[in-house]
Symmetry: D2
Subunit: 133 residues, 4 copies
């Protein structure tokens, strides 16, 4: 994979934008940036659909939890379903994180300069937040 491909690939799942993120990554800017720097439409929408499928499944699990509470299902059985939903959220986070390391962090390393430090600090902070929950 060439540097250029790495740059393109880096927006495969979610946009990479060190500056926007570092400085004042407002949703608008973030989206704009994501679109500006173009998605390989195919690989892109594939991954995006996969993420949305996962999240819709999790949304269904949360609605299932509401039914369980409404139907007075046994507490322990509800806790088992909560564990399953938490695990599904963690797996989604791990998938996103892996793509981020593979594309955004790698692209920053290739690009050189200080951006890699920002990206690594940012990713480490995100991992810490995942561990703390």
């Amino acid at each position: 994979m060439t540097t250029t491909e790495a740059g393109t690939g880096s927006t495969g799942a979610t946009p990479c934008h060190g500056e926007a993120a570092g400085a004042d990554g407002s949703p608008e800017q973030v989206q704009g940036h994501g679109h500006d720097h173009g998605h390989g439409p195919h690989g892109y929408s594939d991954q995006k659909d996969q993420h949305l499928k996962r999240l819709r499944r999790i949304e269904g699990q949360i609605r299932g939890l509401q039914r369980m509470v409404e139907e007075d299902v046994y507490c322990i059985d509800i806790l088992t379903q909560v564990s399953a939903s938490t695990k599904a959220l963690q797996s989604f986070a791990l998938q996103l994180l892996q793509e981020h390391l593979r594309h955004c962090v790698a692209a920053a390393a290739v690009k050189g300069g200080d951006e890699i430090d920002t990206k690594v600090a940012e990713a480490s902070a995100a991992i810490a937040r995942l561990l703390r929950t």
Copy 2:
């Protein structure tokens, strides 16, 4: 608080039913059991509503995650929202667990016999599942 009150309180949020849970706690049985053993209608529906409010908030967070993915929000910002949703699920689980210890486990201890062993083993396994995720 008397044993009887504890027994009633024990179905305050979710039904306590050692046997149904131990043997074959099918949702039907579970609900039946929960209803049979009556809910102090007030405290009951209060807690139930509180649980449902929490879960609807979490469902909203999951839909928010879907929007973030659709709008190509920056990966790290999505991970932050995932951490928040996981934390909210864990808090819901802790709330359920505390009510379960306060009511079902305590009631089993007061009742005497082996049920307390089943209840404690069951609760410990649920805590282990929460820790492993």
Copy 3:
């Protein structure tokens, strides 16, 4: 199981002392209390030895981590060992917690009064701390 048995059993692994813990559980008081309320010497020292064995194994794992760092072992291999040590600590915590629910919390429920509320709140807070790490 009678209240008295519950009371004795409750110091099987670690002393139960709601007031001492609630008020000012100083190590001295805690130990004194633990000893005053007597350990079934056998079951007691068995569990205690088991806990100490687990903790010595974990201490050995931590020393192993120091050797790995000194010998410049590959980062990922060190992280794998950290995960194993964390898991071992969590298992130790779960074992302690289960004994605590089985003995101290159950004894408080049998005893009646408000102590059960303190015990359950205390245990729930401990579970929350374990989840947050």
Copy 4:
């Protein structure tokens, strides 16, 4: 690879070694890269000492847990100390991981080729193991 060779690794705190990454990454190249990006032996031993200090502190906490068990300290107080030790282990893991991303993963990205995929998969698996505990 010997300890000394590993000691000249590119990561400052822990070596990056291609053979672990498989594919075409030779340790020499990776280390060479590390040196290009200037980890003086000083920064290196500084980080190493910092890691060892952290681990000795954790070892002390584990010995403290053994004393608490021997002295029949209240179960809940032991659990609080277990949470502190787990948190300290997680912080150590996060520090190692951040250095690994900054040095080994970044070096693999700069080097190009498939090694970055191996490194990212490896790091993601390590993060998953940390999350699962």
